[in-house]
């Protein structure tokens, strides 16, 4: 069943429209009982952050996200899956990433969206650099060990 579904993967500097992305997966269909969306936004770190600059490895980013999305489609009975990741200069309050997972039932949609985000954080070639309001030297965001630990959970759960 999942073999026929192709994920929609987009890597873009432009913003995305979450409602439009949901509609893209659901319009004209009557077999979908659950749509889970995850949106990742840029926060201002208590007013200290002016912008996040997101660098990426274009060819590999598309390939890696498509491969992770394919894994999710193989693991859960989804009717549709969308992943959008932005790059470039992103201001507090703006969108960074979107995952939309649609399925007949909620459990598959929730789990697939969470799985996608955990894998994206660890394996998709994007790097965030912080630009501060104070004008102090900007620095690269460090990877969190809790993000790596989140992956182990999926490897332990029975498929």
């Amino acid at each position: 069943m999942s073999g026929a579904i192709k994920p929609r993967v987009a890597i873009q500097s432009d913003d995305f429209d979450t409602a439009a992305e949901i509609a893209r997966l659901t319009s004209g269909r009557h077999d979908i009982g659950a749509v889970v969306t995850f949106s990742g936004l840029c926060r201002d770190e208590a007013g200290t952050l002016q912008a996040l600059e997101i660098e990426h490895y274009p060819e590999m980013a598309a390939r890696e996200i498509t491969s992770i999305a394919g894994e999710a489609l193989g693991r859960w009975p989804l009717t549709g899956l969308t992943v959008i990741h932005r790059y470039g200069m992103i201001r507090p309050g703006e969108n960074i990433v979107l995952v939309v997972a649609a399925s007949a039932h909620r459990r598959a949609a929730f789990d697939a969206a969470a799985f996608l985000m955990d894998y994206l954080k660890n394996a998709a070639p994007f790097w965030k650099k912080e630009h501060l309001v104070s004008g102090a030297a900007s620095g690269w965001v460090e990877a969190k060990s809790t993000d790596a630990a989140a992956l182990t959970r999926w490897q332990e759960i029975e498929k």
Binding site: M60, L120, K121, P125, K129, W140
Partner: protein, 85 residues
């Protein structure tokens, strides 16, 4: 063997360029050998690759570990742990 190297984030900043093509001696077999070799190319490389174990590597746009042989690679990317999402 000549190979294209691409660098990202602070690896790119410390080396001072985004990509380059270099010739590799046959004695450079694995990713680990390549990293050790690059560190001899100057202090900017030494600064970028100081903590060699944290450097992530992709060959032909696929993640690999430091023990992987680099034969057949046309593009090798070096970068810090990823912070997307």
């Amino acid at each position: 063997m000549s190979v294209k190297l691409v660098y990202f984030a602070w690896v790119r900043e410390r080396i001072g360029k985004g990509e380059e093509i270099i010739d590799l001696a046959p004695s450079i077999v694995t990713v680990g050998d390549l990293l050790s070799h690059l560190k001899t190319r100057g202090e900017e490389y030494e600064a970028a690759l100081e903590y060699q174990d944290v450097i992530r590597v992709a060959i032909n746009q696929e993640h690999v570990d430091h023990k992987t042989p680099i034969g057949g690679a046309h593009e090798i990317a070096l970068f810090p742990p990823m912070t997307g999402g």
